[in-house]
Structure formats: C-alpha cells, structure tokens
C-alpha cells in the first residue's frame, strides 16, 4: 500500500487502514443483520464495490470521521445497507456488536442509514436521487475551501438513476468539470425501462469520464476507480448479476 503523493492527504494511505475484519468476513457480518429480507439482493450488489473503495481507494479512517480533508463517500442508494454496515464494521467505523440490532428501535443502524447516528456515514439516504446533488455541493464546498485533494464518491443504483434529480447533477457537474466528483453506479439491471446504450453513455454525453466494469472483479474495479480523469468528473458503472437472477 503506497501513501498518497499530495500534501492535503499526505497522512492518509489510500484506503482505510485494516480494521477488525477482512473481505472474507463480510458475509458473516451481514448474516448478523436480519429483518431486511426485501432488500437482500440489493445489499449484496454493492458488496465488492464498497469493499474495494474502503479497502483501497477512500482516504478515510475511523478516528478521523470529522477531518475536513477526508474523502467523502455518499451512499445515495440507501436501500439494502447491510453490505455498507458490514464494511463499516469490518473497517472499525462501527462496532460489530451493533449489527444484530439492525433495524431495531434502539439500533443506530436503520434500513436506511442516518448520518447523525452512525460514525463514518456521510449522508442520510433512502429516498432515491439525493446523493448526487449533495455530492455536487460537497465537491464545490471542498474546492471553495482549498481542499483540492479531497475526493467525493457517490454510490447510486441503475434504477435510482431514473430519478430526475440525478440528471440535474450529472449535467451540471459535467458542464463545470467537477473533477473531484466520482460516481459509482451499481448496475444490476433493475431500472424499469433500462438504459439504452448503457448507463455510462449518459455520463459520457455530459462530459464525464465514464467506464463500465465487472462489479465483482476487484482488480477491474480498482483500476476503474483510480483511472486519471483530469478536468472531468468520473463515473464507474459496475455491472453485477441482474437483480432477478
């Protein structure tokens, strides 16, 4: 693991430091959460994307969740957050003892995450189509404060992209070249009418750097996440098995 080469993030290694658990433990961690059967498939569609981001890309740490220079990961697709919570537990952001309470009255871990309740969670989400607007504002706010080495990542789903609010954000970010904004779109072919020409084409048409990769292939994901994209926001469409299969 190499350290990042720019001043603002010099004290971070890319990827969160090793936590109490590794990738092999994620399904066991997820199995400790129950009561959200409806969102089960969606929760696993994000698992590899989340792991590669947290393990190798995001400059975040459990003891620095308020550091202004930390990278921001915004889970826009707040449905099925079990994989997200599992990764946060694996990396030490939340105690794994919280997991069995998932969805309970006394648990901070709801079926949609609340940033005010869970350390390391950057936004409360659940209503689709809010993360990209918040991500645009975050990238603008970081730039205005000179935090020019901080990246913003927004995870959306292909069906979530049906929401028009996303397209307001995609068009604007492309037009102004919001370089530190990144989207990873987990594509499990669940959009009601699909995306003719592929979801990546929607980003590319608005001036984004956009690639499509296998959402289960860690090397391919890492390569896509770290590809240079000077002067443009960057979208990674991560294809996983269709939702109904």
């Amino acid at each position: 693991m190499t350290t990042t080469d720019t001043a603002a993030g010099a004290s971070y290694a890319p990827g969160s430091a090793p936590g109490p658990y590794g990738y092999a433990d994620l399904r066991q961690l997820m199995s400790r959460m129950t009561g959200d059967e409806k969102h089960g498939p969606a929760s696993t569609s994000t698992l590899d994307v989340l792991w590669v981001l947290y393990d190798r890309v995001l400059r975040v740490a459990p003891d620095r969740v308020d550091d202004p220079a930390r990278d921001r990961f915004l889970l826009s697709k707040g449905h099925g957050p079990m994989a997200y919570y599992a990764v946060l537990a694996a990396k030490g952001f939340v105690p794994d003892a919280w997991l069995p309470g998932f969805g309970g009255y006394d648990s901070p871990l709801g079926h949609h995450p609340d940033r005010t309740l869970v350390p390391g969670v950057e936004i409360g989400s659940g209503s689709l189509g809010h993360g990209l607007g918040l991500g645009v504002g975050s990238a603008l706010g970081l730039r205005a404060q000179g935090l020019t080495d901080t990246d913003v990542w927004v995870l959306v789903g292909d069906a979530e992209m049906d929401e028009g609010s996303n397209h307001e954000a995609v068009q604007y970010a492309g037009a102004v070249g919001l370089e530190h904004l990144h989207v990873v779109a987990v594509d499990n072919a669940s959009a009601t009418y699909g995306w003719r020409g592929g979801l990546a084409s929607r980003f590319a048409a608005e001036g984004w750097s956009a690639v499509t990769v296998d959402g289960r292939d860690h090397s391919a994901l890492y390569e896509a996440f770290t590809a240079p994209h000077p002067g443009r926001p960057h979208a990674v469409v991560a294809r996983v098995e269709p939702r109904e299969s």
Binding site: P68, R72, D114, R115, T116, E122, I123, G124, S127, G129, H130, L132, G133, L134, G135, V136, G137, S138, A139, L140, G141, L142, R143, A144, Q145, L147, G164, S165, E168, A169, Q171, Y172, A175
Partner: protein, 297 residues
C-alpha cells in the same frame, strides 16, 4: 427587497469566507460582480431547483454557510423533499431567500405564486422564518441569518412593503399600539394596511417580521395587557398559517382567533399585486370590515 438582498449578500460574500451563494438563474444578473470576485462561492446551477437545494446541503456538509435563492414557488415547493432531506434530515443549515412571495408575480399566474410556503415549512422541524415588511428589515434579518451558525432560515422577500421600517429583533414580536378591544398581529408587509384598518380603534397592534419561532411570550404579554384574548392574525400568505401557533400560545385561556391571509381558492386573475391584495381582502378596506365585525368595534 431583492435589490437590498443582492447588495448585502455581495458585501457579506466579501467579508465572510464561510458564505456561499447558490442560484438557479433567477437574480443571477444581480450577482455578476460577486460571481467574478468569488467564482468558487457564487454558484449558478442553471434551471435545476432540486440541485439548487441539494448542492446547498452538500456545501453545508463541508462546513460552509449556503444561501440559496430563487422564487418561493421554486425554492420551497418544487424541491420540498430536498428542503426536508438534504437540509433537515442531514442535520445541516442554510439560508433560503425567496422572492415573489404570495402574489408579487400577479401577472404570472398561479405557477409563480407560493402562498403556501410558510405553511409547508411548518411541517418541518427547526426552521426560522422571517417575513420582513421593508428592505431595511430584510437587511437586518439577512445579516442575522447569514451569521446565525448552522441554523435553517427562510427569508421571504416581497415587492409588497410598508412605507417605513420597524426596528426588528429576530424571533420577537413588537408592540406598536395598545388597546383593550382586541389584539391584531400584523405580519411583515401587512402592517400598513393593518394600521390603517385599525386607525381610531381601541386595539393592540403587534408587529411580526419574524414569525418562526412564534413569539408566544410576546403574544401572551400583549393579550394580558389588553385584557382580552380576542386575536386577529393578518398574514400575507395562506389564511390560517399561524393559527395553530396562536392556539398553542393561548391554550390555557379561552380565546377567539380570526385568521386573515390569502384565500385558498385559486385566484385566476392576472393584473398587479395590489389588485391581488385587494382581491384577498387584505387591503385596509377589506381588513377593516372583517376586524370590526370580529371585535365588535
């Protein structure tokens, strides 16, 4: 008021590096010098009101103090879920500054009118709502809001203004006249018409340029001094918007409330805002008849 908003915000952007202004085309031409001076903190997202409020939420998440501005209908009503979730649910603040109010754009028709904006914000938690009745009051309230930590503030600007400013303290009602036959609470631009309508009548007139939080203590003090809990509320937006707050303030005493504001029924007329004020019965003539009948004065 909109001119004052542009001038004061431009000045504040120079002096406070925490402030950022987010626009959606409306009024952008008034901020050309500010945008040149602060290209990273004066942001026009185009005609994208969901992004207007969403981006404001994102800016606030990074520690900035966003001011977001457009017409009331496109600032509160159209992106209401962004107001609810991208600000309130995230636990961050912003200053929303609207123009157009209830009927300023009378010739524009219903699409550009938002008499329900304050009532809509009343469904949410933690919003401060200012309804200035004069550009000087708007300036005072804007300066206060910009410096008011991470609070969520709605500043409702209007073409409709009183002839003279009142000294305003955010969150406080002000006694302008004392009487014994009833208490009339005038909100923002309604003051001139209320003063004219109650001229020569033995009533207390309270003035509110700042309506949320609702200053229950001042209302209770006014009713106690007047010796009556007959209350008239005159608001420049949807009739009855503040009635629940008044009822809560006077919950332990028998009271009567007459709520006057814009009528719920859509007024399918164009014309001027003055004509709309009269059509809603909110000019001095319209107010006088209803206030006299209610108070028996």
């Amino acid at each position: 008021m909109r001119e004052r908003f542009a001038a004061v915000t431009t000045e504040l952007l120079d002096s406070d590096p925490r402030l950022a202004l987010v626009l959606a085309v409306i009024s952008a031409e008034r901020f050309t010098p500010a945008a040149r001076a602060h290209p990273d903190r004066v942001i026009d997202v185009g005609i994208r009101e969901q992004l207007l409020v969403g981006a404001a939420g994102g800016l606030a998440l990074t520690g900035l103090r966003p001011i977001a501005h457009t017409f009331a209908s496109f600032l509160v009503e159209r992106p209401f879920e962004q107001v609810k979730l991208d600000l309130g649910h995230q636990g961050v603040g912003a200053v929303l500054v609207s123009a157009g109010a209830s009927y300023d754009v009378a010739a524009g028709g219903r699409t550009h009118q938002a008499p329900g904006d304050v009532a809509l914000l009343d469904t949410l938690d933690g919003w401060t709502v200012h309804v200035p009745g004069h550009p000087d009051e708007a300036e005072t309230l804007l300066r206060h809001a910009a410096a008011d930590g991470d609070s969520r503030v709605y500043l409702r600007l209007s073409e409709h203004a009183n002839s003279a400013p009142q000294p305003v303290v955010p969150g406080r009602f002000r006694v302008l006249r004392e009487g014994r036959a009833g208490v009339v609470l005038a909100v923002g631009p309604m003051l001139d018409a209320v003063l004219a309508a109650t001229s020569g009548r033995d009533v207390t007139v309270l003035y509110a340029a700042s309506v949320r939080p609702f200053d229950a203590a001042s209302l209770r003090a006014a009713t106690a001094r007047a010796g009556t809990t007959d209350l008239v509320i005159v608001e420049p937006y949807l009739t009855g918007t503040s009635s629940a707050h008044a009822a809560e303030a006077l919950a332990d005493v028998p009271h009567r409330v007459l709520a006057l504001g814009t009528r719920r029924a859509e007024l399918r007329r164009y014309g001027t805002w003055q004509e709309h004020v009269a059509a809603h019965g909110l000019d001095a003539v319209g107010l006088r008849a209803r206030i006299n009948a209610f108070l028996g004065v």
